[in-house]
Symmetry: C2
Subunit: 228 residues, 2 copies
């Protein structure tokens, strides 16, 4: 009577299609392919040692993830993201993260609260030591905890969708200046607001947290990777 697993990831890591999907996604996000570059089915297939069928299916998924665009009978092209797109994404995400923090305040479990506290204190340690790799990992994890804690698969899905875009710019954001520790200080405030049950404050702080991340990114000129 077990219902099918709702937590199932949309992409299967073990099928050929799943491997193609993950490989292409990583390559696009890491910048291996230029924007607007055309992806050929046979070329990708030969590179990975698979036929066109799984490649085509991976293409359909990447299209709806917003990473490529398929034009019928022509080809698949890596999507371009403009400066305005990035700004819009951060503004939308700011709203949604705020709502997520609000709902998390209302629904977080004891275990999730404990992991969130642990995350903040561990991140403080790594920030002091300058361990940017671990810090970035913990930063991602903090947000994932909040997504899970908000107890809404709809909102979680939306926010994780945005993550695909955000990853294209955010990966370098925590390395420079002291955004890393600054970010974690903001996490701590959000965490404390959630712990105190102050949903209004949590929402406001989460809003600002994303806005600040955006401001920091602009200040450091990470836009350069994107077309005007």
């Amino acid at each position: 009577m077990a219902k099918f697993d709702v937590k199932q990831e949309v992409t299967d890591k073990f099928s050929l299609r799943g491997r193609v999907f993950h490989k292409l996604r990583d390559d696009i996000l890491s910048g291996k392919y230029a924007e607007h570059e055309e992806l050929k089915e046979v070329a990708i297939g030969e590179e990975l040692g698979v036929s066109r069928t799984p490649v085509r299916e991976a293409f359909r998924q990447l299209e709806l993830e917003g990473l490529i665009q398929i034009i019928p009978n022509k080809g698949a092209y890596v999507t371009g993201i403009t400066e305005k797109d990035v700004r819009d994404i951060y503004m939308i995400r700011s709203l949604l993260e705020g709502l997520c923090a609000r709902w998390a305040t209302e629904h977080i479990t004891k275990e999730q609260m404990e992991e969130m506290e642990e995350n903040v204190y561990l991140a403080k340690f790594h920030a002091d030591k300058g361990h940017w790799e671990q810090l970035a990992e913990l930063d991602n994890r903090f947000h994932d905890i909040m997504y899970e804690a908000c107890d809404s698969k709809m909102l979680e899905h939306q926010l994780k969708d945005f993550h695909q875009y955000v990853l294209r710019v955010r990966k370098k954001t925590l390395n420079n200046a002291n955004r890393g520790s600054k970010s974690n200080e903001e996490h701590e405030k959000i965490m404390l607001a959630i712990k105190a049950g102050d949903a209004d404050l949590a929402e406001k702080l989460a809003n600002e947290h994303i806005s600040n991340a955006y401001e920091n990114m602009v200040k450091n000129g990470l836009y350069e990777a994107y077309q005007k």
Copy 2:
């Protein structure tokens, strides 16, 4: 030097895969398939007179549209939407429509503004006459105008995504009571706020518009179609 068409719909209406995609989407949204019903590749293919290949690709798209869920090596199942999911969707959409109204206030063109006014006044006429079909059509169109007017392909994409879910509940909402004319009165207020350049008011009204639509839906018990 023409760049590829960014406005291109994600699904091609003329390819076999496109036809399968649209057919299945309509059938799912219209309730032809029960929730959690399994969709078999061969059965769908035979019904539409096509092979499994275009069916499989349509499945991958429907999955990312959130209408079905594919479990590797098992099958494709129509997604279930719980009452909580519906509530979450409307709350998220309320936020995003508010942002959309704000941006529309800042970016709407003269032509779009005129179409929006025309939409409202035409809808008033049909509401008086009790033409619910046309009213529903105009209602959808009003929101599409606003999505286009906000001048953000990212936000537009998000809101249209939600539309897939919302269509499953909203289609009957305008038929009963006087929600139809009530909805249009709210459209008019939003339109006037946008025309007056009052972004704060437009945002607030758009927020409330979606909330009201949700409240109305709950009041009329449209939830019954969904699992607990």
